[in-house]
Symmetry: C2
Subunit: 412 residues, 2 copies
Amino acid sequence: MSAIKGNLVVGQSGGPTAVINNSLVGVIHEALAQEKIGGIYGLLHGIAGVLREEFVDLRAESPDALETLRNTPASALGTVRYKVADADYERLLEVLMAYNVRYFLYIGGNDSADTTHKMHLIAAQKGYELHAIGVPKTVDNDLAVTDHCPGYGSAARFVAAAVRNTGYDTIAMGDTGPLKVMEIMGRNAGWLTAAAALAKEAPDDPPQLIYVPEHGVSVEQVIEDVRYWHKKVGHCIIAASEGMKDDKGGDFAKPPLKSVGGKAAVDAFGHAAKGGVAEFLEDVLKETLGLRARLDKPGYLQRSFGELTSSVDREEAYRVGREAVRAAVSGESDKMVTLIRRPGPVYAVDTGLAPLEKIANNEHKMPTEFINEKGNGVTPAFIEYARPLIGGPLIPYARLACKMMPKRADSH
Amino acid sequence: MSAIKGNLVVGQSGGPTAVINNSLVGVIHEALAQEKIGGIYGLLHGIAGVLREEFVDLRAESPDALETLRNTPASALGTVRYKVADADYERLLEVLMAYNVRYFLYIGGNDSADTTHKMHLIAAQKGYELHAIGVPKTVDNDLAVTDHCPGYGSAARFVAAAVRNTGYDTIAMGDTGPLKVMEIMGRNAGWLTAAAALAKEAPDDPPQLIYVPEHGVSVEQVIEDVRYWHKKVGHCIIAASEGMKDDKGGDFAKPPLKSVGGKAAVDAFGHAAKGGVAEFLEDVLKETLGLRARLDKPGYLQRSFGELTSSVDREEAYRVGREAVRAAVSGESDKMVTLIRRPGPVYAVDTGLAPLEKIANNEHKMPTEFINEKGNGVTPAFIEYARPLIGGPLIPYARLACKMMPKRADSH
């Protein structure tokens, strides 16, 4: 099957990542190489750019700017969190038809996959040839079918580095500040929090404890976990998912807690806005162990730190962008590009295509075999899965050998 | 004047930095080259290592480990926040005498300078020849006499990068999340918060607002400042010092606020523990402008991010370590090594020596000429001062030219 000549639109949606522009540049580079593609239009703020007819001419961008864009975090076209209403789709299609758009490339997560799927459906229903292809992107790593998601590897590298750095800082502080909590992005899926384990060089290294939403833990267990590590190594660094759960499946952080205007906050998709896990842990540990925990809440740095991306992630983000255009011009539609890991000891991926319906509004959480039995750490299988994604080891750090001098016989 | 043969101790004190180990390695390298120096002993956890007689043999460390240590953040010997009591000094001197220590090198801030000064005094009082030299270190950049402090340049580079990254993220989000607050270290001095200005490439770039403790602002002004920028550019990124003050000189963040166990927290030196500025700004902006602000609180990453240090800072931290040993063996005592900036357009520093008494318990705050009139940003003079310290520009980022396509004549 071969596709029709026409224009292409590309948009970016949902939370930005540090490498999402690689997917955009991949789309542009491949579109420039395809004879079937006329105009290459960027959508300002994703699907909102169609509704507002805010298209930019991506053929007018300089090759140098596109190269530099590959090092630039956050969606260069602007992103959007807008739940497209069913009533919007006819209008969206009408705009695309008016601009003779035949290729609809949408870089995003599961909400975006839903939008792309529905764009395909409305076009098919109206008998308009439109090739709608999803380009995977999310630091949450929670898309179905694909082995992993572009954006995750770079966020994972940042989290691993951040936890290692704050771990060194905590160890240096000794008795003065032995507890540290880093609150990590992930409302429902623990992939990014789990990546903190990549900071470890030895089993007792920080983070000593990792809590992910997929495995709830009781407050009592957390207290005992911290007590154990504090006693064993003199400190304890906790990587806590913002969506951490208790052992009954409820939120681990209990009210009264920080919320927006006193009301529980939800985003445009009705997802509950989480947070407050770090402060709740701080209070609990102060109250029960009498120890003050220090908090790091790196927030949006986790998904935007352009100075510390994964080379693997960067290349894969670019590649899925190119692949999406190739799929579209070869006649595909209603698909998302996936990454398929080759078996064997050397990390390599192929790309594939999966029906958008399998991705849309589906959350791929961490499987049981990646979380330890107690729910306070990850398994070697997870490390094996995640390590190649961060693009090589972190820079080497050293510890002193610390050969102790003998004490004086008469010392106090 | 020439100094006596004997052993050397070196300790690290106060908050770690990303380059403090360069000062340690500088001390070790120079001590290895000095014939007058016998044993080179590291103090575990600073002055506490003297009280506990926890000395490590630094001659036993491998040259390779020392090289790698130069890339490793946080005090490798462990640090301490212990206010030395007057009654401790006799005991401290007794230990140093027992180990024939003639060189006391202490890497730290103003509290450490006080300790070093008093070690000098007690030795002089007892007629024991001891060369006590301070090695400057603090991300707060608040030491008197010296042009700037090792540790600051790297923390400043991290803060500039962090604000730029979260700024790109915020701009990408558009109307969905136009406000961002990053809370930055600095209880009384705004040097590190001010470094956020180095993220700017153009006047309207993030951070649009910078609030430092040296210049209080009213809540009303902050609301108007944010309203102005949100209207002008559609978003607003705020770099807020954790020690931000109101226009009457009180804390900007008002209770009820997060505190430890409901009581105002203080550290071992009686300094008030601050914080809560980000959440207070979030509440104020939600209440008055109806806009939700996103928060980044990178916490201890600001002083420990080994992956993003300043090359200038790294070299200077090493150099002041070497200089301190040279000063000690040439007979100096009761001094701290300083950095003296040469006049002229090309950045260069010389080292000098200043009496510890001028440094001890003295806080060098930002001068008026570095803060703009309204107290919501910095001046070009500050930029000129700070830019060389971060060790070259941040990696280049790109924005799209965004040539808009003409709209259809009949578009909605």
